[in-house]
């Protein structure tokens, strides 16, 4: 019985692992193919099934009509994601701390309602906001700019930061800030001197979620930028809709998902330590 | 029901223990009789939890054997050991009613529904939980939840022992007293062996027929509360059992006897002893304070009087700067600064050589 269970478990884990890596392996092998290797049907192993070519990779760094420049979109993506994540994290952390420690009242609106207002933004389908965003940015002259996207992404990421950090702060005993205040700190001083230095795990988790959702957004980048500013997901989709150079496409895809795939290592560490459970209501 | 024997049982969390220090539990030999109550007592990190985990089967001991009624259960999994356990924090099946909670261990063992009904009813009566049988278990108070945990052990007729792992920690102080009494009553009525793990000596004393005192993974003394109190085997037991701790007064070797300036109690110097430290141990409760007379074994000046309600603790300074404490009910009639006569029964003054009781 135990043996059967163990075998089933191993098969399941193995099967899932293959499912997970399959698209990556396929992309990797495809990225070394040329037009011949692709049109002759599915092949897998370089040198055995097909003659590898590096054109998929080199084309990404060539400018001009033949090349697809990946560096520009990569930098744009990084800048937009990092700035938006950072701003969201700062504003979100402050708000979450306030909501977890003070009582706010505005007519019938209480703390829980404000928290809900923040978090409920995640329910908002992007499409509901896309058109007004478009018009608003146009009004501001921020269409097709990094600034415009950052603004939109803050709206996208702020709820995530507030959500994770509210739960994190509710796990830090209130007595800690009270003690800081009796020791002579102002409420703001207590936050910066005592709470913030003890919030690293929460900040890391919140920051990672911001990066993930920021870096991986496609829709807003797609509707609010055109030529001047181009993020990775948009460039790859435009590549997809033109002629289909699968080799470049695959190499491009691998490069664009690589940075965040590395984040998985950090996420795993926090998850195993149990520091993450606070981040889930 | 079973007799539990710990045979040279020890445990080290290291794969290759080098010396004494590497043992979380140094090998011990103990026999626990069926139907009695026992307490494992000691400060945190003393090895009592390791011992409990070995008995419950959570930890496999690195050394020795564990026998239930002569049967070696050292490597048998928890589920087959016929033990039950109540934890520090109440553990209940939160989705079930009280009745379903109590029935669960029997259901798992495939007992017939009619028998289950009967057993659950019996145990519920025993625990005074009849009225709550159909309530969701999670709605009960902490002490009632602890009773449910206990009940899940009691419903099983084959249960050898119930382990209680600091079960009173999260109970309101007012309820502690009641729950402790309830546990004793259940032990008397059912005859199930109970083993309590605690750091609270008064809890251990009031609960157990026999107490196992531990420190640093080493068994210090095992015996009835009376024995531990009146004849502590070493200075640690003297300190740990009783509040305030036993007074320890240093003795000097004088012409073949052991004596001190503080008290006129002498002990014959034990022959062939090469001990470095001779001490007289006297319980604060065994010191009586009287008006000065010639028969006193000593005199002392009262330095401090602490009121503890019915009784009080009086701190006295004797000759040669020896400070002792005495427990008395007459503290309200005394005042700081006065000098009192001290009487101690010769039998209550115990001799310790290097911290060990000289027999």
């Amino acid at each position: 019985m135990n043996k059967v269970y163990h075998t089933l478990k191993t098969i399941f884990l193995l099967g899932w692992s293959i499912f997970v890596v399959f698209p990556f392996l396929w992309a990797l092998t495809t990225s070394f193919k040329d037009a011949n290797a692709i049109t002759s049907g599915a092949t897998y192993i370089p040198w055995v099934d097909f003659e590898p070519s590096s054109q998929g990779w080199t084309s990404l760094f060539t400018t001009g009509s033949q090349g697809i420049n990946i560096i520009g979109p990569f930098i744009d993506s990084a800048v937009v994601t990092l700035i938006a994540s950072l701003v969201s994290l700062i504003l979100g952390t402050l708000a979450a701390y306030g909501l977890s420690r003070f009582e706010y009242r505005l007519g019938f609106v209480k703390n829980s309602d404000i928290t809900f207002f923040f978090i409920s933004q995640r329910i908002m389908p992007p499409i509901v906001l896309a058109i007004p965003f478009f018009l608003m940015l146009k009004e501001l002259g921020a269409l097709d700019t990094i600034f415009g996207l950052v603004l939109v992404y803050i709206a996208l990421l702020l709820p995530i930061a507030v959500w994770v950090m509210t739960d994190f702060f509710s796990g830090i005993p209130k007595e800690l800030d009270e003690m800081a205040m009796t020791d002579g700190c102002s409420p703001i001083g207590a936050f910066f001197r005592v709470i913030l230095p003890n919030s690293v795990p929460g900040l890391v988790v919140a920051g990672m979620f911001c990066l993930i959702f920021g870096w991986n957004d496609f829709f807003f980048a797609f509707t609010l930028t055109f030529t001047e500013t181009q993020l990775l997901p948009v460039s790859i989709v435009s590549l997809n809709s033109s002629v289909t150079p699968w080799w470049s496409l695959s190499a491009f895809a691998l490069i664009s998902v690589a940075p965040l795939a590395c984040v998985a290592v950090i996420v795993e560490r926090y998850m195993s330590r149990g520091t993450m459970s606070g981040a889930i209501r | 029901m079973a007799k539990i024997v710990l045979e040279n049982l020890g445990h080290s969390y290291l794969a290759d223990p080098k010396g004494e220090h590497d043992f979380a539990l140094k090998p011990v030999n103990l026999t626990w009789q069926d139907g009695k109550t026992y307490a494992l007592l000691g400060p945190s990190g003393c090895g009592k939890t390791t011992m409990l985990n070995i008995i419950s089967g959570l930890v496999a001991p690195s050394h020795g054997r564990l026998l239930f009624d002569g049967k070696d259960v050292t490597n048998i999994p928890t589920s087959e050991r016929n033990i039950a356990q109540v934890f520090q924090f109440p553990v209940i099946y939160s989705t079930k009613t009280v009745r379903q909670n109590l029935a669960f261990p029997l259901e798992c063992r495939g007992v017939s529904p009619s028998r289950i009904r009967q057993r659950v009813a019996e145990v519920a009566t025993l625990l005074d939980l009849d009225y709550a049988l159909d309530m969701p278990a999670r709605k009960l108070s902490a002490d009632q939840k602890q009773l449910i945990s206990l009940g899940r052990g009691l419903v099983r007729e084959d249960v050898s022992a119930i382990l209680l792992d600091e079960p009173l920690t999260v109970i309101d102080p007012q309820m502690k007293f009641m729950l402790r009494r309830k546990l004793r009553e259940i032990n008397r009525q059912t005859g199930v062996t109970m083993i309590l793990v605690t750091h609270d000596q008064s809890e251990a004393m009031s609960f157990a027929d026999e107490i196992v005192v531990m420190k640093d993974g080493l068994l210090q003394q095992s015996g009835t509360p009376e024995e531990l109190f009146s004849r502590p085997q070493n200075d640690f037991v003297g300190y740990f059992i009783g509040s305030p701790p036993m007074n320890m007064i240093n003795l000097d070797v004088r012409q073949g006897t052991l004596a001190t300036d503080a008290l006129s109690l002498t002990q014959p110097s034990p022959s062939e002893s090469n001990a470095l430290l001779y001490q007289l141990g006297i319980r604060p409760e065994h010191i009586s304070l009287v008006d000065q007379t010639a028969e006193n074994v000593g005199v002392g000046t009262i330095k401090k009087i602490e009121h503890l309600g019915v009784d009080g603790i009086v701190t006295l300074e004797l000759a040669a700067n020896v400070v002792i404490k005495a427990k008395t009910r007459k503290h309200t009639a005394m005042s700081v600064g006065t000098t009192m006569g001290i009487n101690v029964c010769q039998d209550d003054a115990l001799l310790y050589l290097d911290g060990r009781l000289a027999t």
């Binding site: 005993p173 007595e175 800690l176 009270e178 003690m179 800081a180 205040m181 009796t182 020791d183 002579g184 700190c185 102002s186 001083g189 005592v194 230095p197 003890n198 | 400060p43 945190s44 309101d172 102080p173 007012q174 007293f177 402790r180 009494r181 004793r184 009553e185 008397r188 750091h199 609270d200 000596q201 008064s202 004393m205 009031s206 609960f207 509360p225 009376e226 109190f229 009146s230 300190y239 740990f240 009783g242 509040s243 305030p244 701790p245 319980r283 604060p284 409760e285 065994h286 602490e306 009121h307 503890l308 309600g309 019915v310 603790i313 427990k327 009910r329 309200t332």
Partner: protein
């Protein structure tokens, strides 16, 4: 001098109900009460952590009710061992000094001294998490004391410690706070023995109110109400509802209670309180032994009388087998009488008795 008038709170689970008191500097006040009696709430209200609906807090005649927490010159030690996790032990204790504007060297010197006093001189560079529970609480105590604040509050500081550690710290406590002669020291606890041992003055709280206060020994000998008697008795005091008829005291019909030396009230129902030391073996009353517990040098025996249950405490170790019958005497000089509404009505011929 700290004076509080009519402190009343709403909102919180346990509310304060019109609490007034005057505290003097240099004394230790122990606040005794069961869980939920309002002890913690009182400290928090003094601190400014719980908003008041009514009431004023005055420190040396100056009204500080509205003063922000950081300017109140108070310190608090919590029941949970709360320290700054990210700071070393030394920096923990130096933290309040730095906030007072002392330079780093001076703050460290003072903090180091204080840590030596509490016995942690060798752990200055450790993080609180690397210390045992007792040591962590010593850090918290050092941090609270180093400021020499006017009001030092300790909220059940020993409740989460092992029995023996508790005993040890209780013993050391008076020495540790000896330097804080300028401070009002407030110490809450649920344990009557601790409250009596440590307090110059004991304040008994119940249901958000102060129900009694005074020197521990006096309060214990003459509790003004039934609630007070029950809160400050450990082992518990036993109450039996009896009555007075024709200047005789009865436990129940047919069971006359001893009353020599007592001035009895008018005929009617009365609550008779028996302290564990009021009952002694051998005498005219028969009871069944319900349970016998051994505690230190005493044996605590639960007795079932025909007219109710009571607890007897006997010095020494004696075997009392549960289930057996026993005869006991009840000493009238340890009897207290309470009106059915809870007020003390004990009057004695000889008040010293």
């Amino acid at each position: 001098m700290l004076q509080i008038d009519h402190l009343t709170t709403a909102d919180a689970k346990v509310t304060l109900d019109d609490v007034s008191f005057v505290f003097e500097a240099g004394k230790i006040y122990t606040i005794l009460g069961r869980t939920g009696a309002g002890k913690t709430e009182l400290l928090r209200a003094l601190m400014g952590l719980n908003p008041l609906t009514v009431g004023t807090v005055k420190l040396d005649e100056e009204d500080i009710t509205e003063r922000p927490i950081r300017a109140r010159n108070m310190s608090l030690v919590y029941q949970q061992f709360i320290n700054y996790p990210h700071l070393s032990v030394l920096d923990n204790v130096a933290f309040p000094l730095r906030r007072q504007g002392k330079d780093k060297a001076e703050a460290h010197a003072l903090a180091g001294q204080m840590l030596t006093t509490v016995g942690l001189g060798e752990f200055l560079q450790r993080r609180p998490a690397q210390l045992s529970g007792g040591q962590q609480q010593r850090v918290a105590l050092a941090r609270a004391m180093v400021k020499q604040s006017r009001i030092l509050m300790l909220d059940e500081p020993l409740a989460n410690l092992d029995y023996k550690l508790r005993e040890q710290l209780r013993e050391e406590f008076p020495r540790l706070v000896a330097d804080n002669v300028e401070s009002v020291i407030l110490y809450t606890t649920t344990e009557p023995r601790e409250a009596m041992e440590l307090g110059n003055t004991m304040i008994v709280m119940h249901d958000g109110r102060v129900i009694a206060s005074g020197a521990p020994a006096d309060l214990f000998a003459h509790p003004p109400t039934k609630d007070t008697a029950s809160v400050i008795s450990d082992p518990p005091i036993s109450f039996i509802s009896g009555f007075v008829r024709d200047n005789c005291l009865y436990f129940s019909e047919g069971h006359l209670a001893p009353s020599e030396g007592l001035l009895l009230p008018a005929d009617g129902p009365v609550t008779i309180a028996l302290r564990p030391d009021a009952i002694e073996p051998d005498g005219a009353f028969n009871a069944q032994i319900g349970l016998s517990e051994f505690s230190g040098s005493q044996t605590i025996i639960h007795l079932d009388f025909d007219f109710g249950r009571a607890i007897m405490m006997v010095d020494g170790i004696e075997a009392f087998t549960a289930g057996n019958d026993i005869s006991v005497s009840i000493r009238s000089e340890h009897i207290m009488l309470f009106a059915p509404d809870g007020g003390n009505i004990t009057l004695r011929n000889n008040q010293n008795g």
